[in-house]
Subunit: 229 residues, 2 copies
């Protein structure tokens, strides 16, 4: 069995894409820890040209390929049903989509604006012209996001209330052990951790303790990732 | 088998408590449609004195009683595992708590303020003095909520974004068929429907279509409930 994960490549080898982190954690959850990780850069998508689309993550498993983090999670769950479950049930799968919709709602707008300047600085230097031309029509001048990060972070932190409430009562969003819903939310936190010194949550926040538990999973794969913290 | 549900009683027999609606829908989901419904009023909790606490819903099943809508859902799921599942799996159970935490976050503050005056008007008249004395220290003068409902509703509607997103893609929060996560959210909508003419969502909103589907469930038990619509 040969698995390859194509993921976004950043400056100095840092892989910070939140959706790629969902897939990375899902692969480890399913017990895969020996797979190839191939960076794909904004300026050159030829490594994933075989998938006839331009977005990462893309997973190759033997002679099959799958793109889109949700499709990959479904593929792993249905192809390897005897390995630890990502969703628990069809209901769990559907409810994980709600978790994803929720985190999406506080990412755009929200975390994206907190991290926009940091993200620019962590784009591979050769990708920066592409990225600026792509992002500025949507967000305005990138330099305008160099300041105000702390205020934006404080406002964003309030919006984490439902996550905080459930994590004050149990170790993971999915219960006593983590599952895909945890990786969905963790992807955003890990994105921030890889590229920014922003203190998203204080150390006495139940979300902070949860993130520590997530960083410890799978022999600390996420903790060992290059980061700014 | 004799099941009795003790639920909040309101004016003219209207039962509007959102947590009691969670339990009502869960009972029907589990295939129970022949149970006794007993109203409990704020001013007199003696009907549930046996439970040694003062909150509804309380479920009596044969010689057992259970209070708290979560405890009741867990009881139904574990006692009747061969009937349709409320959670699907332990992961589904945990993630339903996230849905509950989310709706709680937009209820207080949020829907509660939209409905506060309507709620007062639908309290059983003999309960009103008790209710005013209980609520005004928390919310301020009830009469201040007679106006501004439409503006509050428009603001609240925006906060439904994650629910709207998932319901634009599938019929129920739990997938192709409803489960407890749906009843959690529906409880709040049914509370509003029973006591208020507020148009929470417009008819072209995917949430509106979902609510229609919920109202159709179980031979229209929720649609037939006395309401203000």
């Amino acid at each position: 069995m040969t698995i390859t994960l194509y993921e976004l490549g950043g400056k100095d080898g840092v892989r910070h894409c939140p959706f790629c982190w969902r897939t990375l954690m899902a692969l480890h959850h399913k017990g895969f820890d020996d797979f190839l990780r191939v960076p794909v850069y904004y300026r050159d998508r030829t490594p994933i040209a075989f998938s006839r689309q331009k977005r990462v993550p893309v997973l190759v498993d033997g002679d099959r390929w799958i793109n889109d983090s949700w499709e990959i999670a479904d593929y792993l769950e249905s192809t390897y049903p005897d390995r630890p479950t990502l969703f628990g049930s069809e209901i769990g799968r559907a409810q994980a989509e709600f978790v994803s919709a929720w985190i999406q709602g506080i990412r755009k707008p929200g975390l994206t604006e907190i991290l926009l300047w940091d993200a620019f600085e962590h784009i591979d230097p050769e990708d920066r012209a592409w990225w600026r031309a792509d992002r500025e029509p949507r967000f305005g001048r990138l330099e305008d996001f160099r300041h105000g990060r702390d205020e934006r972070t404080l406002a964003w932190r309030e919006r984490l209330a439902p996550l905080r409430l459930v994590l004050s009562q149990k170790p993971f969003l999915a219960g006593p052990v983590p599952a895909y819903a945890d990786y969905i939310v963790f992807g955003d936190f890990q994105w921030a951790r890889c590229i920014s010194t922003a203190e998203l949550v204080p150390s006495d926040d139940p979300i902070y303790a949860w993130r520590e538990r997530m960083l410890d999973l799978f022999d600390g794969i996420a903790r060992r990732a290059p980061n700014e913290a």
